[in-house]
Assembly symmetry: C2
Homo-oligomer: 207 residues x 2
């Protein structure tokens, strides 16, 4: 309970505090009253800036998507599109593993209804567009249709998302996979994606 000076922009403070709580304790520990308490304001003050809990959550999710997109966008374009692609894949997993609560916030389920918060989804789309642009630069994708690229982006995204989900929940660590390091799994999945797309940007570190 350190910060007690009431900020001039309460709305901003609410979102930042909510982000901080989610980052440290997870979404399920987030409560409006705790946020207000931490800012040093009455438990009803947030309601002057947000209609309800979901509205706060929607904006928090939106900012998390923005943060995620800029993380993916750090190493945008080199002269080797295949290296860019592999780099992006690793950045994806790296973000998910180093920001587990944020990643869960975006792709874990109890999101505020996507239909009701279109701006939230705009930020989500932006991250997806980065992947599409990356695929489009691949050597053998020069003359593919937009639909092809869209579908392959969906495929890549699915695979990366599924991989990180499984790695994070440790669902597979119970038995055999405990032997493999996550890095092996990541490298293998990236390799398989390359085979599927016909680019082979990485050779498998085994066999």
């Amino acid at each position: 309970m350190p910060a007690k000076e009431k900020p001039d922009d309460l709305r901003e403070a609410i979102i930042e505090t909510a982000l901080a709580i989610i980052e440290s304790d997870g979404l399920e520990k987030l409560s409006l009253r705790q946020v207000a308490r931490q800012i040093g304001v009455s438990h009803q003050a947030p309601y002057k800036h947000f209609a309800n809990r979901d509205h706060i959550l929607a904006e928090v999710v939106q900012r998390t998507f923005d943060d995620f997109a800029s993380y993916l966008d750090v190493h945008p374009t080199s002269d080797d599109p295949r290296a860019d692609m592999a780099q992006m894949g690793r950045a994806y997993v790296q973000y998910a593993l180093s920001h587990p609560t944020q990643y869960r916030l975006m792709f874990g389920t109890p999101l505020p209804d996507a239909q009701a918060f279109p701006e939230m989804m705009v930020s989500a789309r932006h991250a997806f567009d980065l992947l599409k642009a990356c695929i489009q630069r691949l050597p053998n994708y020069a003359q593919k249709s937009a639909q092809q690229i869209e579908l392959d982006a969906l495929f890549v995204w699915s695979t990366m998302h599924g991989l990180t989900s499984l790695l994070e929940t440790q669902a597979m660590q119970t038995h055999a996979l405990s032997a493999e390091t996550p890095d092996t799994a990541i490298a293998h999945v990236l390799h398989r994606i390359g085979v599927a797309l016909g680019v082979e940007f990485d050779s498998p570190p085994y066999n």
Copy 2:
């Protein structure tokens, strides 16, 4: 509030009621008190059979995994391993889309700590083993190592899991992908998996 006759096996009734609530209203609407109320028992009765909420949840999740595994196992072995594989993939997506709350329960995040409930994970592994067995029967997998199969199973599982997650959250429906039907995306992803594994069990329905 129909059933008020107190069952002789309260423990069983608790889990079944919890499953029913989750199926109809989702995990976030589940409350121990509501369960007790619906069974017609005091709000503290469940605590005589479960230490806390997470213990109930763990058993519910375990049963959901079992149900999921048997769903995948409906069409076990034909004479064409590639057809089996494709069928399993479709069954996976089909389950996820027709049982969204159950699927979220298994792979959405706020699970009770996996480490603390090993039996829950045993059931999860079983479903994964079904996929491994399916891959192992593929024509070109006869003499691959167990690690290879494990890693490729991880790859396939990841992709299917990611695909269904994205389809379900409708994250991508906002813009361009609204044009494509889910079936197109499913077929495409299955095709890409085939390319990646070198089996090509499905031809793409376009191009």
